[in-house]
Subunit: 241 residues, 3 copies
């Protein structure tokens, strides 16, 4: 049996993993789903990427976990890359779930289409606290395209604005790219949160991992809501030795 540390993406908090965690626990695995600093309803949004990373390192230390599988969804991919630099000896395997694998020296904003950056910066400028909320139509059509309307709305109600600074921070990833930690990439084949093709998740992001294990499943960027049982199964396939 394994220990899974599940790191959520932008607009989510740790509760996004609850249905998946229940399925993993039903299979006998242990899970931890911490909320990243600056994320979740009511959190202060003035955090940078380093603070986001530190909050996950702290949550792991508090539980004295080791030999765990570290999972990052979407923006969470940038977090687990830096967590892996901080505590490599504690991690059995990294699993990216349609997660960002940034080039060394890049920010998340350096890796998404320019019109997305423009749109998100405009939203941040309009907000009172420099945060960005994902507009519902974008969510419905390109993030959770495999859901029916009630599911899409119910899941959207669980989202909250994301701090923009962690999207802008350029990350030194030299240590990450020198690590030999085993790594897997789960790609949901209908994920269009990044447009498929030139700007897509796979193979663009995944191939940066060098030797990695590819696991695919049908579904959108938000399979943790639309198919939590299926994602739990794929996490086991991605996380095993």
């Amino acid at each position: 049996m394994s220990v899974f540390v599940l790191v959520h993406g932008a607009w989510h908090d740790g509760s996004a993993w609850e249905p998946v965690a229940r399925h993993l626990e039903a299979k006998g695995h242990q899970t931890l789903s911490p909320t990243i600093a600056g994320h979740g309803k009511g959190a202060a949004k003035n955090v940078n990427h380093a603070q986001c990373t530190q909050s996950i390192v702290d949550a792991i230390a508090k539980q004295s976990l080791s030999n765990f599988i570290l999972v990052g969804h979407s923006f969470g991919g940038t977090i687990i890359s830096k967590v892996a630099e901080a505590i490599p000896e504690k991690i059995r395997r990294l699993v990216f779930v349609n997660g960002f694998v940034l080039r060394d020296g890049h920010s998340l904003f350096d890796e998404v289409p320019p019109h997305t950056v423009t749109a998100f910066e405009a939203l941040a400028a309009q907000s009172s606290d420099g945060s960005v909320m994902l507009p519902y139509p974008v969510w419905r059509e390109t993030f959770i395209n495999d859901a029916d309307e009630p599911t899409a709305q119910r899941a959207y109600a669980q989202l909250s604005p994301s701090p923009a600074q962690p999207f802008r921070d350029r990350l030194d990833l030299k240590k990450f790219y020198a690590l030999t930690t085993p790594r897997s990439y789960i790609n949901a084949t209908e994920d269009t949160a990044l447009p498929q093709g030139e700007w897509g998740w796979h193979p663009r992001m995944s191939s940066r991992l060098g030797m990695f294990r590819l696991v695919q499943m049908p579904g959108s960027h938000e399979v943790m809501y639309t198919n939590p049982a299926g994602l739990a199964e794929k996490l086991v396939e991605a996380g095993r030795d």
Copy 2:
């Protein structure tokens, strides 16, 4: 429950949608499957693209339909793009099923591999009425690759020559590209009617739709014959709000 207007592709007529329409109707939906002018057995083939479009606009007007989901398969994608320009207020959502999404000012022939244009123009030149029939080996290997031989032959027997002029007509699509009608793209993952990759349907054609909902399913270009129940399900997923 929804209303689906189903527009067929080249070499087909409205009857190609019959099995899919039966499945949609069994789920409580209403359907209309008009035959495009110049298409179908016995039809005069001397039509241009504007006449093709007008015939569908007329068929919709005759039934006084509104608030419907307008579906276009293959060449039918070029038709629904122009129908959407003509009667945008009547359309709830556009659904392209491995359909052509032409660039503004392009013809269908501008968007397929040059050797295909050469082959089709030669067939048109050899015909008595400027029409093109799809050769059986191309049909069997690259259009209906997921069928067994009897199914491939039975479906081929339902085809008829297509007028060539609508493939040549360059379309002004400025109005289409200014529309905000919601839109979806269904991609059958084994469709090789256009070669996958550089000349493929998805993401090449689909990405031109801007924000769109991606729905995928296993199958060939001719899933309406090889998996009508599956396609009906995907049309519901693609067509819902």
Copy 3:
């Protein structure tokens, strides 16, 4: 009912096809799974590509087979291309299973990422007989990524070093590219033995076949071990008229 001649890939021998062959035979088909010269445990490794090809031509002649479906997996794709040049009149259809379709004048090493060639040449230089053994971590992560660990180890125990010279031999394929033998390509969608994208199997290799039938299935490069029943089914779909 059909006759299938199944040609294995590098590191394998004819026994790799046994589970698939059992499933094909249970459906009433006949199979032959010869071992390529220089392959298999205990075989002398000093063979070139021409000798590999001749050994399969000989195995087919010995059984007096004709009108068969000739299947090649991976490196086996280079073998069936040359066998098809030698005895085209005996072959009903060619089926590549994530198989190499080399450009005329290319070697297998001309078609894989340069760092792979460097690594394999280093392994060949270190061996006593100029052969190359696939390292277990590469096998586990990128060849048999869909297996659990015990299956991955059990299958690895069946592998043996491959002669390096057939990877280096540049092949004259002019006759192959002039053949009109029907051909299919089976692509397992999680196959990362070649990295997906720019260096991938499909559509890079498959598109070189001209008009071909695409058949896809979930799974890794080693679906003959991880899903032999599924592969047998897809071989029937790929092999039928």
